[in-house]
Amino acid sequence: MRGIRRFLPALFMLPASLSVTLFFVIPVFMTFVFSFTTMSSDTGILGSRYIVSEATIRTLKDGDLDAALVRQLDSRVFAVNEAGLAALRKSNLKPTVVKEIEEKLSGKVYASEKQLFAALKGLSNRPRSFKDRKMVSKAVVQTLKNREFTTPKEFRAGLASIGIEVTDDVFDVLLEVANTSWKWTTGNYSELMASDFTWKILANTAFYVVLTLFFNVGLALVLALVTFYMPSGQSKFFRAVWLIPRVSPSVIYIMLWRWLSFDGGFMSYILGFFGVQPENWLNEFPWTFVIMANGFVGASMGMIIFASAVVAIPADVLHAAEVDGAYPWQQVRRIILPLMAWPILFITTYQTLSLMTSFEYILLLTDGGPGFFTTEVWALNAYHTALSNYYGNLRYGFGATLAVVLVAVGIAMSLIYLRLFDFKKLVAEPQIEN
């Protein structure tokens, strides 16, 4: 019994520790690992591939490898020799076809597949389908070009099959150039430092987080306090109305903002009565819309927490203040706000972190534009880099680098908040009960 009791706390913590490990520690660690790779949609994620393609040859020509070797790698001839014929005999081509190839074409060498096919078409027992002709071509081709190898060993065997023997040093060079899969690199971090937009996007993020935070925490407080002083029925109604942005699906919520702001939209229509030309207001004041759209959503969440916190303040304290002649404003400033430090800390911390990583409303509203990253925040930039490109060039490795920075900033911000609001004092035993 005592033994179980000792492990009970650990047992209680198990589900939480498991989820933290699964959904935080491991993803963060993997993101960190990926941030040191060149992984992208053109390198692929899984498996390694070695291919000598036209691009490989071009790179090799610019390097200092032996020119004759490069020419050999570049060559592609079709030689009907014993090895090729042996392969054909094993294939499911008809024996009569293979026999005629052996009789009439043995020892011949063709410079291109076209020539080989022309020769095949001259036979009486010829491979009738394109597939069969391709089979012959595959059996007799002497080349490394555009052949796919998945391991260095296979690649070496491939080189040997066309009679190329190289030293280990040269092999390493070839392997490096022919490798089309991702590689380890620290280049992502240096690219991050080299780009001017890194600082711009960082500044955007700070601007967005701070302004939206003020907007939604401030609005949440105002809403909570105003509804606190209202009759109960009305306050419930107003709180329910303010919850609408939170509960509407983001796409629909943003569609309403767009409809409000585009040149044929509600704002232009109303302003039209005052002689203002219709405008795409979203493009004119992108930040205003971004902050408002996000702020209204955040405010409703803060409002609920704050409203219940205000109600939880013992009424006798407020009554006593009223007897002492305190106006509502004085009650708010001297009694309510100080007693709400804890929920305010919670909401501020929570909103900072969630604003830093949230981007879906910006994505749907401005997509980071207009212009050079005007409303692009860090999380959105990570998304764009790693997962959304108009022409499909997704850079997973670089996107991971951006995400790592975000995690680091997030952890730093949490620590700062805990310091700033004196977390220890807030969770201390209430002195009144001692």
Binding site: D42, D263, N280, G371, L387, N389, Y391, G392, L394
Partner: protein, 452 residues
């Protein structure tokens, strides 16, 4: 009772067992970016399956093909979603067997090993590919191999609203001669701005509607770079992308001038609503604009523009001035076979694509969506030849260019696009925008781009 049921079950099993083993059904899934007018990107493959199954029957094969129409990606985020979805799905061993992508997807997916080089599975010397417009082959090629079969072709013409042109002094003969003048370089982008201004000053259109470009980002904007002197994008010899500073400046300057010097384009034009845009250009609310051959389908059907040929002039995109040339972008979509297909599936997918490329089948898509055909023979299929739009617009294809097939294109394009939006909105002067793009490109793309 139970015994009776058992006996029935056994009987049923015996009856149906031979049927079940007789034909092996192989499912081929297709993904395509397709709106309502572009359903034939899927349907052509389904129709091809009927023919293929008959062919298989004749060959004595037990295999039968069933086509599954997978996701169609529509809307403004559709392209990015299609590409993201395909990359991630195939990496995970899922996704389609056949995908209709853009030709610029070939290098990215080819390099990642997500697609097969189609030349290994289709005899390109045989019908109908022996008859393909030769200019389409380079667009389907990358790294020395042919990877895809063009699903359609198109061009992106320049348009003008004829009644407005007449109102500023053009005669019918002048309008009829305009496409030729554009082609020969006598009518340039400078004239576009001037005419747009005249149309606007006469009060024919509202301010900012004189020149009314495409509503959102798109490859179309590269045309305004390509028509400038030195506006090359790709160096075939080194396989690298090119950024010509002079052409880039002229390109940015044109849009900056349109907004600030002439006031014929709205500063906040980009990102506007497409439905509004289509409706406005199809009802004479804009003076001059540019679009794509498929716009014809939208203008004449949903927007109800009945007398298109009387109301609208179309031509190449005018030259940027001396040293430049009039051109238009062609952006053929392409049938690609993904690595999701294994063994026999690859071969069946290749045969489906071959049949779907038959002139008559491809014409269904061409007419339904107002895209252009892919083979010479198609221009003789009556449905195609009798359609005035496809017949006349196919001529533009001769002067068309395509975006380069390069793995670095997406990153390069993103920067150049951002530069344009900055110069357009006046955040930066055109020169500053060029400098920013060049600096950023040098910092982040290094020697992947030749900057000259």
């Amino acid at each position: 009772m139970t015994l009776k049921r058992l006996a029935m079950a056994v009987l049923a099993a015996l009856l149906f067992a031979p049927l079940a083993t007789q034909a092996a059904e192989i499912e081929i899934e297709v993904w395509a970016p397709a709106d309502e007018n572009e359903r034939y990107r899927f349907v052509a493959i389904s129709l091809a399956a009927n023919v293929l199954n008959e062919e298989l029957k004749i060959e004595g094969s037990d295999t039968r093909v069933v086509v599954k129409e997978g996701t169609s990606f529509g809307g403004s985020q559709g392209w990015a979603q299609l590409k993201q979805g395909f990359s991630l799905a195939v990496e995970a061993g899922k996704g389609p067997h056949i995908i209709v992508g853009g030709h610029e997807d070939i290098p990215v997916w080819g390099s990642a090993g997500l697609i097969y080089p189609i030349e290994d599975y289709i005899d390109l010397e045989a019908w109908p590919f022996s008859d393909l417009f030769p200019s389409l082959w380079p667009i389907m090629s990358w790294n020395g191999q042919v990877w895809g079969i063009p699903q359609d072709a198109e061009s992106r013409p320049f348009f003008a609203w004829n009644p407005h042109l007449k109102a500023i002094g053009y005669s019918d003969a002048d309008i009829a001669a305009l496409p030729a003048k554009v082609k020969s370089g006598q009518y340039t982008l400078q004239n576009v701005l001037e005419d747009a201004k005249k149309i606007q000053d006469k009060g024919l259109v509202e301010k900012g509607y004189g020149f009314y470009p495409r509503a959102t980002k798109g490859g179309d904007y590269w045309q305004f770079y390509a028509v400038q002197k030195g506006g090359d994008m790709y160096d075939a010899k080194s396989g690298k992308l090119i950024l010509d500073k002079g052409a880039l400046l002229a390109y940015y300057q044109f849009f900056n001038d349109a907004v600030f010097k002439y006031g014929v384009t709205k500063k906040n034009h980009l990102g506007m609503d497409w439905d509004q845009w289509y409706n406005e250009v199809a009802t004479g609310k804009a003076g001059l604009w540019h679009g794509g051959t498929w716009h014809y389908a939208r203008y004449t059907r949903r927007e109800g523009l009945d007398d298109f040929f009387d109301k609208v002039m179309f031509s190449l995109i005018p030259s940027g001035g001396s040293g430049g040339k009039a051109t238009t972008l062609t952006h053929p979509l392409t049938y690609l076979i993904s690595k999701r297909a294994k063994g026999e599936e690859v071969e069946l997918a290749a045969r489906l694509i071959t049949i779907a490329s038959e002139p008559r089948l491809n014409t269904l898509h061409a007419i339904a969506s107002a895209h252009l055909g892919i083979t010479n023979a198609q221009t003789k299929v009556s449905q195609y030849a009798d359609d005035r739009w496809t017949a006349e617009a196919t001529v533009l294809l001769k002067s068309a260019f395509a975006l380069p097939n390069s793995v670095d294109f997406g990153q390069y394009d993103t920067l150049v696009w951002k530069g344009l939006t900055a110069a357009w909105s006046g955040d930066l002067s055109p020169q500053q925008a060029v400098d920013t793009v060049v600096k950023e490109m040098q910092a982040t793309m290094g020697d992947k781009v030749i900057i000259r």
